[in-house]
């Protein structure tokens, strides 16, 4: 099962897990990314491309399914404005055994950060607004899966 989508609404983690788990898998792994309120951040805005973002997420999930023996992959990414504590991204993978699920989860979040057209803009309590620059460490982690 491949379940991939972007949403402008709050991600309901428990209902996504219930849907993902309906297959009764032996081993499931998850990654939940949330907005951090560091430095007085008040809003995180995620911009996306109207067609490329979903297509890239779908290709990413297909890549994980081709690479590991996975029974199910879920990737949900929020777009638009969100506040500290809210979920930005949810990755769920399932397999018969833990190794494939754990590795595929790490692969999906590492590659999502470099391969999917999404852009973060941060707003702070003091009025500062800035676009996030890519991190060298993220690029290196993504490249390590080549």
């Amino acid at each position: 099962m491949k379940h991939v989508h972007i949403t402008a609404q709050a991600i309901d983690v428990s209902s996504e897990i219930s849907f993902h788990d309906s297959g009764g898998h032996g081993a499931s792994a998850s990654f939940v990314g949330r907005v951090r309120g560091d430095g007085g951040l008040t809003e995180l805005f995620l911009e996306h491309h109207p067609t490329m973002t979903t297509a890239a997420l779908d290709a990413l999930a297909a890549g994980a399914l081709a690479r590991w023996p996975l029974a199910a992959v879920t990737v949900v990414h929020r777009v638009g404005a969100m506040t500290p504590g809210q979920v930005i991204v949810l990755v769920l993978t399932s397999s018969d055994h833990r190794a494939a699920a754990l590795a595929a989860t790490a692969y999906l979040i590492d590659r999502l950060k470099t391969d999917v057209p999404l852009w973060k803009r941060e707003s702070y309590a003091d009025g500062r607004v800035s676009w996030v620059a890519p991190r060298e460490s993220d690029t290196a982690r993504a490249a390590a899966w080549d």
Partner: protein, 86 residues
């Protein structure tokens, strides 16, 4: 002269002041990199958005490409900063 649809995202969009436009390109402009240089030379907004071409990523018709990539008169070109999702 090719009429090409170009869309902008994130800080490229903000600096251009528009989300996209249809542009009549001179015949000599045949690569994505040449489009970027042409936009940078066109006006102040383009100069601000494309001051550092190495920072610009591109897609043609939905596929990520390098600056040496070509396009057709019906292509949809997207220009944007490095991605930062997740």
């Amino acid at each position: 002269m090719a009429l090409v649809q170009i869309s902008y995202f994130a800080w490229v969009r903000e600096r251009m002041g528009i989300g996209g436009e249809t542009v009549a390109l001179p015949a000599a402009i045949t690569s994505v990199g040449a489009v970027i240089a042409w936009l940078a030379a066109r006006d102040a907004a383009g100069a601000a958005a494309f001051a550092e071409p190495a920072q610009i990523r591109a897609a043609v018709d939905g596929n990520m490409v390098g600056h040496d990539a070509g396009f057709t008169s019906t292509s949809d070109i997207a220009l944007f900063p490095p991605v930062t999702g997740g």
